[in-house]
């Protein structure tokens, strides 16, 4: 076969290798002249890639960040763990405040209150002998509600109903964000929102009669 014929066949094989049997391709590769033609093509291809790479330098910073994020445990993941730890500390902090509040109420009432871990808020049995200064003027006694992995939307809806406030969710995340939270209904709405704002990713504003999740 003449060189030109070989080139034509090689070009066709490169374009449509699926049209040839594996054995035909292997036989072609065993031909020294075809081998040289392939190597020549590869040489020019490599030289062009080399030239392009030289002109368009790689951003090593970006590549390092990508690598560190995937393979080095103590670079990016550490900050993620720190964030998680911060959320838990926030939960502990808020829980600590509410636990102290429960404890005081217990001391005053000398009555056990009960909390159940469930997404559905379970009211703690209200005291029947609550001192006058802790009882609201309305007929419903304040409770401590414990939320276990409840959505922020659910918590805010409950807050809205209790404090008679409208709820406006401007942030889509607020609908799905789940958290552990204890709500002491004795506290004013602004105080409860302040506690919720200690969580990362939550930003709540009380504007007139509306709770806004931004």
């Amino acid at each position: 076969m003449e060189r030109n014929e070989k080139i034509q066949m090689l070009l066709d094989m490169q374009e449509h290798p699926e049209n040839y049997l594996e054995q035909e391709l292997k036989t072609m590769l065993e031909d020294p002249e075809v081998c040289e033609l392939m190597e020549g093509t590869a040489l020019l291809k490599q030289a062009m890639i080399w030239e392009n790479t030289r002109k368009n330098a790689v951003n090593v910073d970006t590549e390092w960040q990508r690598f560190a994020g995937q393979h080095i445990i103590d670079s990016k993941p550490r900050s993620r763990w720190l964030k998680i730890a911060a959320v838990f500390l926030g939960v502990l902090f808020v829980s600590g405040i509410t636990f102290a509040a429960i404890h005081i109420v217990r001391m005053v009432n000398s009555q056990k209150s009960q909390t159940v871990q469930t997404e559905q808020p379970v009211p703690i049995k209200p005291s029947t002998t609550m001192p006058v200064d802790t009882v609201k003027t309305d007929t419903i006694a304040p409770k401590i509600i414990r939320y276990d992995e409840a959505t922020l939307q659910k918590i805010l809806t409950d807050l809205g109903e209790y404090y008679r406030l409208r709820v406006e969710l401007r942030n889509e995340d607020a609908k799905t964000l789940r958290l552990f939270f204890q709500w002491n209904q004795r506290q004013e709405a602004s105080k409860v929102l302040e506690q919720l704002n200690t969580f990362e990713r939550i930003h709540l504003v009380l504007n007139d009669s509306t709770i806004i999740a931004e």
Partner: protein, 167 residues
Amino acid sequence: MKTNEIEILFRQHYNQMIQLARMMLYDDEESRDVVSEVFAALVKTDIMPRNVENYLMTSVRNRCRNLLEHKDVRAKFEQVYVAEMKQGSVDDEDNLSPMAVERKYEQVIAYAKKQLTEQTLMVFQMRHLQGMKYQEIAEQLGISKVMVYKHLTKAMTIIKEYQDKII
């Protein structure tokens, strides 16, 4: 190895390593993976290789060869993989200094630019660097498919001439 040691090596050698991988695999994603794997192996070890640069480049080359060996013969034709061939140009670089490699490619490019028309070089790039089909190239450049064959034939002949001259 410590993170800061790996970062220094990464910043020093990444460009050279990715370039080698690209020239062997012709694929950006695969090349990135290969270089990442080499550094990932360093993360797991406490031993600093004696000749770091040599170790990194050899590791890239070996991993690329390993990948190429597993490509089927059709892919070898389509992509013109040559690493496992007897006189594969990338293989030869084992014994070449970076300066010599640079000179080698500069000479190839210079020869090609001198002997081939801009359109032939364009057709070659479209086919081999961008992976376009002959029909697509013809349509994009407004030429016939036969002309695409002619340009590629010319490119192959000229490079063969160049190889014959330098040997």
